[in-house]
């Protein structure tokens, strides 16, 4: 084993470990970011619940079940967003892992060929070729008759390099390796973008319908309205807030279902584009 093939074999071992760790950590980062985004949205709903309960002069401690039920509905809706983005991330990371394996096996093929290099160059056939080539080149330098020169030149050009097939195969494996590197970089970028795409999607879903009027900034009419509302709607927490907040979940559901379908479609498209590229790289290599 040469210093290069030995070095490459060691790097394959490093890459196997790094790939496996990255797959787990990448998926972990994605899921945690999505979960954090959901937690802050649910917290937003909870704060709104408490604030509305206070507004309607309700004791929050007596609304534990109502609060838990409402938050559960919101959590269930957000878990649908979590699932599609988590799945997108997983699909991309697993796909990347498959192509990483393809790259590792290509490095393995390069190592095999590099180890054959000395054998090819020391073969009787190659030594004879080199000697014959040298002999003809030296002869060309001394020939003075054009017809003889042309004939010798023709013989030199007709000589078949026994290493040509080897060089060609090595060059094609190196090209395949380079193409796989490019593809892996692009999938890595796409996979890394998924957590933030999911976080932005979750953040874009509005959970709080209306803010409670800030009385200090309200005009006299608003103040009267708020005062009357406070008197007459004291007992309407269920009707004025809880029913509406539950209704909001239904609206969110339609919005989230649409969003989830779009993400699923995007995932299928990205995966099929990558697989198509991978097939092209492999097909270009096997085609003669």
């Amino acid at each position: 084993m040469s210093v290069y093939t030995n070095g490459l074999s060691n790097k394959i071992k490093d890459l196997v470990e790094e790939n496996s760790t990255l797959l787990h950590l990448g998926f972990g980062v994605c899921n945690r970011k999505l979960q954090n985004a959901i937690n802050s949205k649910v917290e937003e709903v909870e704060k709104d619940f408490v604030s509305k309960a206070n507004f309607y002069k309700k004791n929050v401690n007596e609304l534990t079940n109502e609060k838990a039920q409402l938050l559960k509905q919101y959590e269930d809706e957000f878990s649908k967003v979590y699932d599609v983005y988590s799945n997108k991330c997983f699909q991309l990371l697993v796909l990347k892992e498959q192509i990483e394996l393809n790259r590792l096996s290509t490095i393995g093929n390069i190592i095999t060929l590099l180890e054959l290099k000395d054998k090819v160059e020391e073969s009787q056939q190659y030594i004879e070729y080199i000697n014959k080539r040298k002999e003809l080149e030296q002869k060309l330098d001394t020939i003075e008759v054009k017809a003889d020169y042309d004939k010798t030149y023709e013989v030199l050009n007709a000589l078949e390099d026994p290493k040509l097939q080897y060089d060609d195969q090595l060059a094609r494996y190196i090209e395949k390796y380079g193409n796989l590197c490019g593809l892996i970089d692009r999938i890595q970028e796409a996979a890394d973008a998924v957590p933030n795409e999911g976080v932005e999607a979750i953040a874009s879903i509005s959970v709080v319908e209306t803010a409670i009027t800030d009385e200090s900034k309200a005009g006299i009419v608003s103040k009267i309205k708020a005062f009357l509302s406070n008197i007459f709607k004291k007992g309407d927490f269920e009707k004025e807030y809880l029913a509406k907040a539950t209704e909001k979940v239904g609206v969110m559901d339609a919005e989230i279902t649409k969003m989830a379908d779009t993400v699923k479609e995007e995932t299928i498209n990205v995966v099929s584009i990558v697989l198509e590229h991978k097939d092209k790289i492999n097909a270009a290599f096997t085609a003669e």
Binding site: Y4, L8, L25, G28, R32, N36, L114, C181
Partner: protein, 50 residues
Amino acid sequence: MDNNQVFYDGRIIDMANISIEELEGYYNKIKAEKNETIAKVNELIKNSIV
């Protein structure tokens, strides 16, 4: 090891019990290490064919 644990640098990282910042820190660190490994592979391949 369960699905929430990864082995790195001679020890087990429990992903469920570290902050997102730490988790991302490990992820970026290993990604950088992997990029260095690939750069080394590229260099070895380049030098081996000269």
